[in-house]
């Protein structure tokens, strides 16, 4: 249950890590090695996202918009602005979620799924292809001017829920990520206005991560 529940944000955010690297790569990656090398060169990412969730439960898809911040080597904030503000903050080994309900932030650091998320994320950021291959079956296709990277989880529990995660882009840009679940639920995230060379100021970092508690970023 929890694995599946967290699987979507995990792989989504992990893929956003890929976004950072992909967008930073120049020229456009023609190989998987090139894509991973580009990720490793990312200096800081700021991107907008638009997510569409098509769930079996709902008559119509759920849509959300927000901003992604990535600070090398291991810090990230995913801020959802619409329809309901929330934030997911990763600060090193800590993972904290908070929404606008006014309830206390939820520390997910002890959750094994969150642990997996952090591991996946750092693996991707490091451009550690062997580790990525250990966790996923990796299929990279270069179809000029576009490319796609399909990840299929190797972990048996994750495989029960997640069918695949597909990242795609054109040239230097990653445009889309598609998460396909076994039950047919589908999440499509499109990225725009990507800055891959953003340098975060101390003030921005303080606003995003605070000085003490992770999750300082307001939803």
């Amino acid at each position: 249950m929890s694995v599946r529940g967290l699987a979507r944000p995990i792989v989504r955010a992990a893929a956003l890590g890929l976004l950072a690297g992909a967008a930073a790569a120049d020229p456009a990656p023609a190989t998987l090695d090139g894509l991973m090398a580009g990720m490793a060169r990312a200096t800081g990412v700021l991107a907008e996202f638009h997510e569409t969730k098509t769930l079996a439960l709902l008559s119509a898809p759920l849509e959300s918009r927000g901003v992604l911040h990535f600070v090398p080597p291991d810090r990230m904030v995913r801020r959802t602005l619409e329809p309901a503000p929330s934030s997911l903050v990763v600060d090193g080994r800590r993972v904290v979620f908070r929404d606008a309900s006014g309830e206390a932030p939820v520390d997910l650091s002890g959750d094994p799924s969150a642990r997996q998320f952090v591991d996946n994320f750092t693996t991707l950021f490091r451009g550690d292809l062997p580790a990525l291959r250990e966790k996923y079956e990796v299929r990279f296709r270069a179809e000029p001017p576009g490319w796609s990277l399909e990840l299929e989880p190797r972990d048996a529990v994750l495989r029960r829920f997640v069918a695949s995660l597909t990242l795609s882009g054109e040239g230097e840009r990653m445009r889309e990520m598609v998460l396909l679940e076994r039950d047919g639920d589908r999440t499509v995230t499109r990225f725009g206005r990507v800055e891959t060379d953003h340098v975060y100021t101390p003030e921005e970092l303080s606003a995003l991560f605070g000085t003490g508690e992770a999750g300082a970023a307001a939803p």
């Binding site: 249950m1 944000p9 709902l58 979620f97």
Partner: protein, 790 residues
């Protein structure tokens, strides 16, 4: 029987007793033995809290570092080093990775039984059109959130959010610790936290001391690997117990050395013979072995405190061989040892009887440990007495003489007493004045029953303990509520009522929060009331479909919920099932097995208005609100009351025994009054000087009166024979000096408890010796003792 044969036989008997009893002696201490009999709820609960629960066996370790990563690394390394320690029942250093699965498997099928703990009020609101629409909007919103996708799988079966509520309660009940790379970390981000529970009791220093040493050694090795950047904090009952024992042991080595040298030196000085010294010590050793053997046969095990205190009481019986040896050496008719033994047997017998009567008073207290001490002491005194008269003469030569110095001391002491006789009136006035002043000062006596006055723990240990506790839990471990039920289900039902009462108190601001079994389990009744509240809406599934469809959910999406309703109520979750499940560890530390009853503990946080909380709980029968500090103080007050009562009762028994022996008032009073007056005078002095009395003063005075009454008896019984009188005065002086060294040396201890015993016993025994002439003067013997027979 020849001496060699007797010695061999004696050695065999003593070896047999030692061989039987010593392996069966448990040198550990069961504190529950020193709590009143567990007839009342409070005593039973506290007894279990102290002895049986995981709480008393748990250690908390805090590994501090300059930053979170270093501290967490240190914590992980320490956990790895200790995880397989044989003394540990378990070690937890991080979250249980399987917890979500376990919670899901046990609770999800029963989610609808845990919808609300106020079902009659909340469920109708939830199932109204507005309530369902609100729940649908919330679910839709949550599905759009990253963390909210947790609900995607369970929502079709649980549109009402019952499982979400359950998880929220679980989460609220978790500790404030965070997790860093699988390691618990305190909120300050600088301390990794480990929880350890030992298999043995926290009082079992034989296990706890080596474990603490191993913890320290492992930490120091890990700290060295981190360049000395780490620090270790520890919290737990065992820390206090082991630190206290170490301190007492440090004292004991020095004090025992001084005591041994002092007692041995005095006896050697008085007897000038190693053989006589051995004979003086032998009865006590025999008495100790005999009472340990009989005690082991009778009780199965003897408590460490019983052994320690009982042995102390037995130490006073060193008087018996001293008297025998001195009277033998100073026998006017140069009698052999058997004749002397027969002659002084009535006096020794009376002394032993009064001592036994004095200690027997302990048997009338409600404290099992005290009763065991009484048994141990009475049997030991009887064995020592019998050994002195029946065995020691075998090893004494036909005649022996005391060294001249001892004879001079004997003559001097006897002469000094006789010299007082012309001043009988003045002395009587002094005695009466002292008694009057003592009685007058008695009302000024105030008792101090706080534990801190009896035993002051090392401030460094206290500070470290509080620091670590502060890192781990905001709950006040000294205050808690216990719901007691005749069965497990009844206890959980009581606990529901406690939770409800505390919720109202929390809403009034009387306290900040609670940690309760209620976070994990409700009573069967409350679970069934949830189902009944749901069943009260016959078209519930249709209503849910309509309300959720109106908020954008696909029609038919909640068919699994409809099926769950149609299947009827699941079996309620009971305590036994929860405890036996993989989640049992969540509630285990909060449950008390009280024999045929069960207790559920609720911890309190931020108690601002104890009276309000007590008032709220007063309406719930069978519920106890503990303030551990005041409760422990109450227990010690009971100890002290019991001891004072036993002093009075013991004194009455002693007086009765003396009356039976003498059948006349004057010798009875002569032997009884001096030591009694010393006890009263010492209590009066405490009152007059504003010193608050405590349990240990009272217990020490039991020793003093027991020894002092013996002094009176020997003086009275030997007052008509000058040679005997000299031997008696010498014996009293030697006995007093040995007691002073044996017990008075405790006054040098750093431990307040030992110091109190040492000062009270030392001053008291000395006063008894100084008061012994009163016994002679009270006899109103106007002529000097008879001249020594040829």
């Amino acid at each position: 029987m020849s001496r060699p044969r007797a010695a061999l036989l004696l050695a065999l008997v003593m070896a047999a007793m030692a061989g039987y009893s010593l392996p069966r002696v448990d040198f550990s201490t069961d504190i529950a033995s020193f709590l009143p009999d567990a007839e009342g709820d409070e005593q039973a609960v506290l007894s279990r809290m102290l002895r049986d629960t995981e709480l008393s066996r748990t250690l908390v370790l805090a590994v501090g570092g300059p930053d979170e990563a270093t501290a967490a690394a240190g914590g992980r390394a320490l956990a790895a080093a200790l995880r397989d320690h044989p003394a540990l029942a378990w070690l937890r250093s991080g979250p249980d990775a399987e917890l979500p699965r376990r919670v899901y498997e046990l609770y999800f099928p029963r989610r609808l039984l845990f919808l609300s703990d106020q079902p009659e009020r909340e469920i109708p609101k939830l199932l109204a059109e507005d309530g369902l629409r609100e729940e649908a909007r919330r679910l839709r919103r949550d599905l759009g959130l990253p963390a909210g996708t947790l609900l995607a799988e369970v929502a079709p079966q649980d549109p009402l959010g019952a499982f979400r509520r359950l998880l929220e309660r679980f989460r609220g009940a978790q500790s404030t610790l965070r997790v860093s790379d699988g390691q618990f970390v305190a909120g300050d981000g600088r301390h990794a936290i480990l929880f350890l529970a030992t298999r043995a009791s926290g009082f079992d220093t034989a296990v706890q001391a080596p474990l603490l040493r191993d913890v320290r050694a492992a930490f120091e090795r890990i700290d060295a690997e981190h360049g000395g950047a780490l620090e270790l904090g520890q919290s737990g009952l065992a820390r206090y117990v082991v630190a206290g024992e170490n301190r007492a042991r440090g004292d004991a080595v020095a004090i025992a050395g001084l005591s041994f040298l002092g007692v041995g030196g005095i006896l050697l000085l008085a007897l000038r013979s190693a053989g006589s010294l051995g004979l003086t010590l032998l009865p006590g050793v025999f008495g100790l072995l005999a009472t340990t053997t009989i005690g082991t046969l009778f009780y199965g095990r003897l408590d460490g405190i019983t052994l320690a205190f009982g042995t102390t009481l037995l130490g006073l019986t060193i008087d018996y061989p001293i008297h025998l040896l001195n009277h033998h050496a100073m026998s006017p008719l140069h009698e052999n040892a058997w004749a002397v033994a027969r002659r002084i047997a009535p006096s020794l017998g009376l002394a032993a009887a009064t001592t036994m009567a004095s200690y027997a008073g302990l048997a009338f207290t409600s404290l099992p440990g005290f009763r065991q001490i009484a048994f141990f002491s009475v049997v030991g005194v009887a064995a020592t007495f019998a050994f002195t008269l029946l065995v020691i003469p075998v090893f004494l030569p036909a005649s022996r003489r005391l060294p001249p110095s001892s004879q001079r001391v004997a003559a001097g002491l006897a002469g000094a007493v006789l010299a007082l006789e012309p001043r009988r009136g003045l002395l009587a006035a002094v005695g009466i004045g002292l008694a009057a002043a003592s009685f007058a000062a008695l009302p000024l006596l105030r008792w101090q029953d706080e534990l801190a006055a009896l035993s002051a723990p090392d401030p460094a240990v206290v500070a470290e303990d509080q620091h670590v506790r502060g890192l781990v839990s905001p709950f006040d471990s000294g205050r808690f509520v216990v719901a007691v039920g005749e069965s497990e289900d009844a206890a959980i039902a009581q606990n529901d009522r406690v939770y409800e009462a505390l919720r109202e108190a929390r809403e009034r601001g009387a306290l900040e929060g609670v940690r309760s079994v209620h976070d994990f389990l409700w009573s069967v009744d409350l679970q069934e009331r949830n189902w009944r509240a749901l069943s009260a809406v016959p078209d519930l599934a249709d209503r849910v479909e309509r309300a959720f469809a109106a908020e954008g959910f696909r029609p038919g999406a909640f068919a699994p919920f409809r099926e769950a309703l149609a299947a009827g109520p699941p079996a309620p979750l009971r305590l036994a099932e929860l405890r036996d499940s993989e989640l049992g560890a969540l509630v285990g530390p909060m449950l008390l097995d009280l024999g045929d009853r069960t207790g559920a503990v609720t911890l309190l946080r931020g108690l601002r208005d104890p009276e309000d909380v007590a008032g709220a709980l007063a309406s719930v029968p069978g519920v106890l609100l503990f303030d551990q500090q005041s409760f422990v103080t109450g227990i010690y007050r009971e100890f002290r009351d019991a001891t004072v009562r036993q002093m009075v009762l013991g004194s009455a028994l002693v007086f009765g025994v003396l009356w039976l022996r003498y059948r006349r008032l004057r010798p009875t009073l002569a032997s009884f009054l001096p030591s009694t007056l010393v006890a009263v005078a010492m209590l009066g002095a405490l009152g007059a000087f504003g010193i608050r009395g405590n349990l240990l003063h009272a217990m020490s005075l039991v020793l003093v009166t027991g020894q002092g009454s013996d002094y009176g008896i020997f003086v009275v019984d030997s007052s008509d024979r000058s040679r005997d009188f000299r031997a008696t005065m010498l014996s009293l002086a030697v006995s007093c000096m040995t007691t002073l060294f044996a017990y008075g040396s405790l006054a040098l201890s750093d431990e307040p408890a030992l110091r109190t015993i040492g000062l009270t016993t030392g001053i008291g025994i000395l006063c008894c010796l100084l008061a012994s002439p009163f016994s002679f003067l009270l006899l109103a013997r106007r002529s000097p003792p008879e001249p020594e027979a040829a």
